[in-house]
């Protein structure tokens, strides 16, 4: 329940310096902000602030800090871990109006953009100069760069071109106290600790981003993709290792299993081999001569690894069509199931077969289907559990299913989130992945930036009390916290 007296107090304090259109508190206006891309978690924000200028952001933060009001920053609201779940007793700070490309310098190969600029829009404005912004999360037509910074978003090309952290030079923002901070610079490094690396992926807990300088890369002359079919998922997994072992770093290397290709094929008609147990998309980019050479090598390796069919994109339209199915994987699940739950674990690639078998066993155990799409090159799995949220039993089973899979990821030496973040969704699994002393360091880092704990509180890092209550022990690389103790 919203405390209406507190709501009045905070809304009036903000309206003292913000135009009327920038402060929302009536339910019909705040309702659209109740969740982000993880719709299973909803909460009505007490107040929504929609600043239009940097000084307004600063003033909002100063005001909230002085009043002790929690602040949750929000970009495009496409996040998949509930990182922008609003505070019931605070201000949801929407950066949606920060949509300006401030500067694009083709010689310096940088773009300075406001946080609300969409990921794909950066490449659009850079295209006339033969440049683009490399990280391409599947949600790139909708997600904003501010959110990409918060989550350290990846995409299908990050094996070769890196994540957000590798493609951002500078983040400007404000701490909860309203202090302006510049992390990084337009040079390749900055003096002191690498606070830019710490800011990227910090899920909006350390500072509010108001401007981002991104690196632009020259668009490769050409790109082609090989689509390889396999009659067994484990063989497909081994083929991934074989490609890397051959000294090839593909521009993209993605895997989809049969249930996934069947789901997307009805939706986008990408031309996938529906007989295959799994398909791999393996992309080469560069000069025409280089690509021709590399595609030939990729085909040899994939064939030797047991591919049952190989198809190479003949032109750009066909290449984009091959990718369209992969990029549409999530919405396609929405067509074949009332709801789907997307997981985001990363594992060492060599454990793929084992983990996919484990997921198969979980499908049996919980009676739910789970197609798999996989950033195979960098070990990032996106199993998609299909369920019906109207059946509370199914939602519960889905959550239990997901928890088991994430803990399996930790067990095989991986992580509970490769690119979607912890948010509110994976707080319990953080207790399994990290020991108390490590979580305590995270809290200490948070206090360094935000001593009162007002910026996006309760997200990303669980309290030690929560972990104690959750009761599952931290396991690291197969070792328990205190291996010297006998356990029976």
């Amino acid at each position: 329940m919203i405390d209406t007296r507190r709501q009045d107090e905070v809304a009036s304090a903000l309206r003292a310096f913000l135009p009327e259109r920038c402060v929302l508190w009536q339910e019909e206006d705040t309702r659209p902000y109740e969740c982000d891309g993880l719709t299973a978690y909803r909460r009505l924000p007490m107040v929504v602030a929609l600043p239009e200028t940097e000084p307004q952001v600063q003033r909002i933060l100063e005001t909230c800090h002085a009043l002790g009001v929690p602040v949750v920053p929000r970009g495009a609201g496409t996040g998949l871990s509930g990182g922008a779940l609003p505070p019931g007793d605070g201000v949801l700070l929407s950066m949606a109006k920060f949509t300006r490309v401030v500067r694009l310098d083709p010689l310096a190969r940088i773009a300075v953009v406001q946080p609300g600029v969409r990921n794909a829009a950066i490449s659009d404005v850079a295209a006339p100069f033969g440049l683009y912004y490399a990280p391409d999360p599947s949600s790139q037509i909708a997600c904003s760069i501010g959110g990409n910074v918060a989550e350290n978003s990846g995409g299908v090309h990050c094996l070769k071109y890196g994540l957000t952290v590798h493609n951002v030079l500078r983040v400007r923002g404000y701490t909860i106290e309203g202090v302006a901070v510049d992390f990084g610079s337009e040079a390749l490094d900055a003096p002191g600790y690498d606070l830019l690396a710490l800011a990227i992926g910090s899920e909006g807990l350390l500072a509010v981003t108001t401007e981002v300088t991104v690196k632009l890369l020259p668009k490769p002359e050409t790109a082609r993709v090989v689509m390889a079919s396999f009659d067994d998922v484990e063989k497909a997994g081994n083929a991934v290792a074989a490609v890397i072992a051959a000294g090839i770093v593909p521009a993209g290397l993605e895997m989809m299993d049969k249930p996934a290709t069947h789901a997307v094929e009805q939706f986008v008609h990408a031309g996938y081999d529906l007989e295959a147990a799994a398909i791999l998309l393996c992309e080469s980019d560069g000069s025409a001569a280089e690509v021709e050479d590399e595609i030939a090598r990729m085909k040899d390796v994939l064939a030797a690894a047991g591919a049952t069919r190989l198809a190479v994109s003949r032109d750009e339209a066909e290449r984009l069509r091959f990718w369209s199915g992969r990029k549409a994987a999530f919405p396609a699940m929405g067509r074949i199931s009332p709801d789907y739950y997307c997981m985001d674990g990363t594992i060492p690639k060599k454990r793929l077969g084992e983990v996919l078998n484990f997921i198969g066993a979980m499908e049996q155990k919980y009676g739910l289907r789970c197609p798999n799409v996989f950033h195979a090159g960098d070990g990032n799995l996106h199993p998609l559990i299909l369920f019906d949220a109207n059946d509370p039993g199914q939602l519960k089973r889905t959550e239990a299913f997901a928890a088991e899979v994430l803990e399996k990821c930790i067990e095989v030496g991986g992580t509970i989130t490769g690119e979607h973040g912890v948010g509110v969704e994976k707080l319990d699994q953080m207790c399994v992945q990290f020991a108390a002393a490590e979580l305590e360091i995270f809290h200490a880092i948070k206090r360094a930036y935000d001593p009162k704990g007002l910026l996006n509180p309760g997200k990303a890092v669980p309290s030690l009390a929560r972990c104690a209550e959750f009761g599952r022990r931290h396991v690291h690389g197969g070792e328990l916290d205190r291996p010297e103790l006998p356990r029976f």
Binding site: D194, A197, G286, E290, V422
Partner: protein, 355 residues
């Protein structure tokens, strides 16, 4: 318990913290010259050595801090892989821990990325003597703050780096070095223009009107690029020696006693009009300057150009090694140091005199 046992490090640090005794964490000592004057009782990390895990198909290597950087190179080389950021060793004693703590990158930095870009995970002993692990052995990992990247370049002030996992890549199939004659302003303009085109330039160095360019990749690609770029091809042996000389600063440019400044700028920043000899790397983003000019005016010039200046090598360092931080960032630095090492005993003042 041997000297290289993590538990021994942990006890040593716990004891030092209780008594507020500063510790000077040191591997092979090849980078003793870098940063402010090392202080405190020696804590030698070399006993904790060895490659822990290496799967070439995972593109990840995990090694203990005391592992010789040259041993790591050797293991990777046997599998046709390498550390793409080409870290400078600055001597045969260089260790993996020192490489990460210094966070320095070599000639390939502008195209491949920096030391921090290849950091995937780390185990450390913090200032309380606690053994902690962050990140992991996978390429994508956003669970918790990116503490392992924060360690790159922290000069051991946040913790003793026990073990690291680094991303590695296959070595380029072929390389070719070109030499062109160009004055500095034109070299800068050309380097930036080329960097905006899909050319396989992986290193560049300009000095005294001569520009060296290294191309890497498929044979077909580098030959086609060489034709577009022009210039003379350098013999492979001579080229390898040239780039190694830059990376290790054994090149004659780096000889002599004049203070050596490392000026990091946006690559397109115009020619720095400062007294002293200059050598440019990283497509113009790194400018080495041998100059006795006063620190304040040099740092002001670097800041005006959008970057910062580090006193990389010098007999004395009265003005501090690293550019002073604005107050907001300085406070975050102190608070972060305090989060990891509240007693302030790990490599005190090596990075900034305030902590």
């Amino acid at each position: 318990m041997s000297a290289g046992d993590p538990k021994a490090f942990s006890e040593r640090i716990r004891g030092a913290a209780a008594e507020k005794r500063p510790l000077r964490i040191r591997g092979g000592g090849s980078k003793d010259f870098y940063g402010n004057e090392p202080q405190g009782e020696l804590l030698d990390t070399r006993g904790h050595a060895g490659v822990v895990a290496y799967e070439p198909t995972e593109l990840v290597i995990t090694a203990r801090c005391g592992t010789l950087l040259s041993d790591l190179d050797k293991v990777l080389f046997e599998h046709g892989q390498f550390l793409p950021f080409e870290p400078p060793h600055f001597g045969p004693a260089a260790t993996v821990g020192g490489c990460v703590a210094a966070g320095l990158s070599g000639p390939r930095r502008a195209s491949a990325g920096a030391m921090r870009d290849f950091m995937l995970g780390a185990k450390i002993v913090d200032g309380h003597g606690q053994l902690l692990a962050f990140g992991g052995q996978v390429m994508k990992n956003v669970a918790g703050y990116d503490v392992s990247r924060l360690l790159a370049g922290s000069l051991g002030t946040l913790g003793l780096i026990l073990e690291v996992s680094l991303k590695v890549l296959p070595k380029p199939r072929a390389e070719l070095t070109l030499e062109l004659e160009l004055p500095q302003a034109r070299a800068l303009e050309s380097l930036n223009r080329w960097a905006g085109r899909p050319l396989p330039v992986t290193a560049s160095a300009w000095r005294d009107g001569e520009l060296g360019l290294r191309l890497s990749g498929a044979d077909s690609a580098i030959r086609a690029a060489a034709e577009k770029l022009g210039g003379e091809t350098v013999a492979p042996d001579q080229a390898a020696q040239f780039w190694a000389g830059l990376r290790e600063q054994s090149d004659p440019f780096f000889a002599g006693d004049a203070p050596l400044w490392r000026v990091s700028l946006p690559s397109h920043a115009p020619v720095l009009e400062l007294p002293g000899e200059q050598l440019l790397e990283w497509g113009g983003a790194l400018r080495w300057l041998k100059s006795g000019a006063d620190a304040a005016s040099l740092r002001a010039a670097a800041a005006r150009a959008g970057g910062h200046a580090t006193l990389f090598r010098s007999r004395d360092k009265p003005a501090g090694v690293f550019a002073p931080l604005p107050p907001g960032l300085a406070r975050l630095h102190r608070e972060l140091k305090n989060a990891f090492d509240p007693a302030g005993i790990l490599n005190p003042r090596r990075l900034y005199p305030e902590f």
